[in-house]
């Protein structure tokens, strides 16, 4: 049976979604996630971004890029945090996270780099290490730089 938008919403609209279980709905989910990320419900948009990263599919990166440009930081934080599940994290996606004005997005962008770091991102991380107004993020970036070296 095809996976419907309602099937996806039923998984994500709960208070404590189980993303591993939701991912079992399969790749048909991804088209619905795009619709949710672009929708007006911020909670569902953030949860859709979270599921997109959890699924770690080829289509996950463009979905996270979409979420990373969302006007609401809650959605952007969700995208950055779920990017840690990606095995094909791109430099452009990581750059979006690290350039974000919101410290929560930068925090989770750095956290995702603790798992995998695309080429060419070191400069961005060093810039946070040296210049970020948030001392916690500077320290977090320092650890990422150490790990990269």
């Amino acid at each position: 049976m095809p996976v419907t938008l309602q099937d996806v919403v039923r998984q994500l609209d709960r208070d404590e979604p189980d993303y591993e279980q939701a991912a079992q709905l399969g790749p048909e989910v991804l088209a619905h996630l795009r619709q949710l990320i672009q929708g007006s419900n911020i909670g569902l948009a953030a949860k859709a971004a979270c599921l997109a990263g959890t699924m770690n599919a080829d289509e996950s990166v463009p979905l996270l890029e979409l979420a990373a440009r969302h006007p609401d930081p809650v959605v952007r934080v969700a995208a950055a945090a779920s990017a840690k599940n990606l095995t094909n994290m791109t430099t452009s996606l990581a750059t979006i996270f690290l350039d974000d004005v919101d410290p929560g997005v930068r925090k989770w962008g750095l956290r995702s780099l603790e798992v995998t770091h695309p080429e060419g991102i070191e400069t961005k991380v060093e810039k946070i290490m040296n210049d970020d107004p948030d001392s916690g993020l500077r320290e977090q970036a320092r650890k990422v730089v150490e790990r990269m070296q």
Binding site: R10, Q11, D13, R14, D15, E16, P17, D18, Y19, E20, Q21, A22, Q24, L25, I42, G43, A46, K47, A49, C50, T54, P73, V74, V77, A78, A81, S82, P103, G104, K107, W108, R111, D134, G136, L137, Q140
Partner: protein
């Protein structure tokens, strides 16, 4: 003072003015309880005149800010109530009222004093200032003439009759006509033998018992909402730590939590509120790393760090941390350290999420029966959700009205070490 209501044998009449429930005694001393939302405050003693203490005083009702006392011979007296003070008594001019032996209930609708007799005839007197108008008989239906009819109250233009078995009937009053009877849907009211007085405050119907426990239900149209305990015997001391303001106002979440926990006889008391939105430390905690699905007792370093911000949180208290988001994205997460009970609530929380997460903290699990015939790969598919229950595992966002607890859930949360005598 105690928040038990009208439990003394000498308590004689219970009425209301505005949001204050008024208890008159045989000695004429009069006490009040302010009702805020679904909670009754402790009793206060009215200053000023004594009221309704004569043996011939037969019915007491209210109209605007007037306390009205009718006597066995039909004389009608009044007191102007001002705040917590009772004005000197005055005698109404005009007609006598409610002096026939068959007169059974006296209530008011607007400026009309309504007298209902044992055979269901309904008479009225328009009241103007300190004058009782001549009696008239209402057209239309008879009301409250059955032997099982026990209490009569009013809300707006509705006459509300409760019966011994808890069924509640109504009549719309339009001008000088009593509408046909209808039966309210929803909760049954005032059917326990120990129920002593019934009164209304706003749209809430309140039943007081001989022990002083008081229960309420909101009346919406022709429906009686879930019954809640107005003066809980147990309470949760809740500390709010606000890292980010959620989309739903925190006060709204608290009110909803009080609504649903009130049905279990548990009050929710906000013990402290700490604003951390401007704090320039721990900014990382606003977007909190949590263990996926929030298993009990399993915490990330950030969760431990969050709950280390205890400040005023006592040993038996509960804390709600309002963070912006969690990773993975949740409405809330009830995992907490062994020595600090509480939950994280996120910006996208529903109006019921805090009550739901605190339910987990108090030992409740998601309800059973919502995942019928689910595929093995998606065992919790929410094929048969129950959105009338707070502990639904299928989204509190879809709850309509005030959700309920099962008796087993009530037993669990009332026996929690976090619920303490009020």
């Amino acid at each position: 003072m105690s928040n038990r209501i009208a439990f003394n044998p000498q308590d004689r009449f219970v009425v209301s003015i505005g949001n204050t429930l008024i208890v008159t005694t045989r000695t004429g001393d009069t006490f009040g309880h302010d009702i805020t939302g679904h909670t009754a405050d402790g009793a206060f003693h009215f200053t000023g005149a004594k009221a309704a203490f004569n043996t011939v005083d037969r019915f007491v009702t209210t109209m605007g800010t007037k306390l009205i006392v009718t006597t066995q011979n039909g004389d009608v007296f009044g007191h102007e109530m001002a705040g917590r003070d009772i004005g000197v008594p005055f005698k109404f001019a005009g007609s006598k009222a409610a002096f026939n032996a068959v007169d059974r209930f006296v209530v008011t609708v607007g400026n009309t004093l309504i007298v209902i007799t044992q055979n269901g005839d309904v008479f009225g007197h328009d009241v103007s200032g300190h004058t009782i108008g001549v009696p008239f008989k209402f057209d239309g239906s008879k009301a409250a003439f059955n032997a099982v009819d026990r209490f009569v109250v009013t809300i707006g233009n509705k006459l509300i009759v409760t019966t011994q078995n808890g069924d509640v009937f109504g009549h719309d009053v339009s001008g000088r006509t009593i509408g046909p009877p209808f039966k309210f849907t929803g909760s049954r009211m005032a059917f326990n033998p120990e129920d002593r007085f019934v009164v209304t405050v706003g749209n809430t119907m309140i039943v007081t018992t001989q022990s002083g426990a008081a229960f309420g239900a909101d009346v919406t149209g022709r429906d009686i909402g879930p019954i809640f305990r107005l003066n809980p015997d147990l309470s949760i001391r809740l500390h709010l730590k606000v890292w980010t303001n959620p989309t739903i106002p925190i006060q709204t979440m608290i009110t909803r939590m009080q609504d649903v926990y009130g049905t279990a006889g548990i009050g929710v008391v906000v013990a402290s509120r700490q604003d951390l939105t401007g704090a320039n430390i721990h900014t990382a905690l606003r977007d909190l790393d949590v263990v996926p699905t929030c298993p009990a007792g399993q915490l990330t370093g950030e969760q431990i760090q969050l709950f280390n911000n205890r400040d005023n949180v006592g040993e038996f208290d509960v804390v709600a941390h309002f963070v912006r988001s969690t990773s993975p994205v949740l409405n809330g997460c009830a995992s907490h350290p062994d020595n600090v009970f509480g939950a994280a609530i996120t910006q996208i929380a529903s109006v019921w999420t805090m009550a739901h997460e605190i339910g987990h903290v108090l030992g409740l699990r998601h309800i059973a029966g919502e995942n019928t015939n689910c595929p093995s790969s998606i065992p919790n598919c929410c094929s048969t959700p129950n959105f009338s229950r707070l502990m639904t595992g299928c989204s509190t966002s879809n709850i309509v009205g005030t959700p309920v607890f099962a008796q087993s859930e009530i037993d669990t949360i009332r026996s929690s070490s976090r619920t303490r005598p009020s």
